[in-house]
Point group: C2
Chain length 230, copies 2
Amino acid sequence: MDVRALVFDVFGTVVDWRGGVAREVRRLLGPAVDAEALADDWRGRYVPSMQRVRSGDLPWTPLDALHRASLDDVLADAGRADVGPDVREELVLAWHRLDAWPDVLPGLTRLRRSFVLAPLSNGNVALQVDLARRSGLPWDCVLGAEVVRHYKPDPEVYDSAAQLLAVPPSSVVMVAAHVDDLAAARARGLRTAYVHRPAEFGGRVVPPSADPDADWSVDSVEELADRLGA
Amino acid sequence: MDVRALVFDVFGTVVDWRGGVAREVRRLLGPAVDAEALADDWRGRYVPSMQRVRSGDLPWTPLDALHRASLDDVLADAGRADVGPDVREELVLAWHRLDAWPDVLPGLTRLRRSFVLAPLSNGNVALQVDLARRSGLPWDCVLGAEVVRHYKPDPEVYDSAAQLLAVPPSSVVMVAAHVDDLAAARARGLRTAYVHRPAEFGGRVVPPSADPDADWSVDSVEELADRLGA
């Protein structure tokens, strides 16, 4: 199997969005807010907001702007319509300040010796740059939704990974903690690796321990490096 | 002056295309070919080949494919129509195997502590990834022609740098050894830094020692780091 590149889902797979957003919510809104519930609510509006772009209802809109728009509803529903515009802008940047799961940096560092690595996320380029700088993620480039102006699971996103890296789709491994992302990648000819992230949703939802349709199912990026001989 | 990001022209500014292409030509075609003359001839067809895309005469075509097409003419004119297709493919990869000028890695390493860094080149993404891995260039992401499907000096390329990095154009510095690239960037509101590269054309053409219209004119990326306090 001629693996040349690994492309990664980021929110949930590489970084802990729930813990990071909740931390920033506490910092900016104080202890009276249920920060985890707010993070969950905000994240719950993620797929519907992208769906409006995917369906053509909205023109191309980067994720930061979708987060900014959905935040107004989140705060209204949390009884915090009083939060001012500057704090709202700062809250959007919570998504740029998420920490990587502990296995990510050692795993990527090993994988990068043998493979080209890139995020293939719905997060915009500036957000990916901020996350990478925060955690020292050794990406070779930033691929994903904003580069191709389509949101996953649109096929254009997966196709763009192989095209821009100039390798066959079967040489690219999509790495994700979400079976739907992997299924969409597989439909475009990419290999797939499932990473089990039981803490992504704080225990509210427990993801499956493995994806039977994936080429690899692992519990960490370090285990993926083991399995790929990196 | 609020500088947030530096984006770099690559061929000539970051890497020595002439020396690298000539080295690969010698390796693949042997000593009977004038390798530097072949490199110069190939490079001479670069702007006209991109112009066919810029004018709409050709659909979007990545630089590797333009290099592959112009190589046929280069070899025919050099009396080497005998060169087989596998060697031609390998010759195209010469442009992925160029070495950085000696000041580049130390300069970028310093600049990266304070600024976001990215190539903004007409070379395709896979080519930039190969160059970065070869020389250890610490880019935060890969921007440029292929991401936006326009060749410099089309304004879309310069505009995309600020848009994708989510900063104002005036916070982005275009760094190049070519005054026309800098003039086009300046017309889109970017700051500009000129790097004097007297060896780019092997002494055939001597570029000006400074660009009076640039915000900075320097002799190396290290000097640029000095000037920006990095």
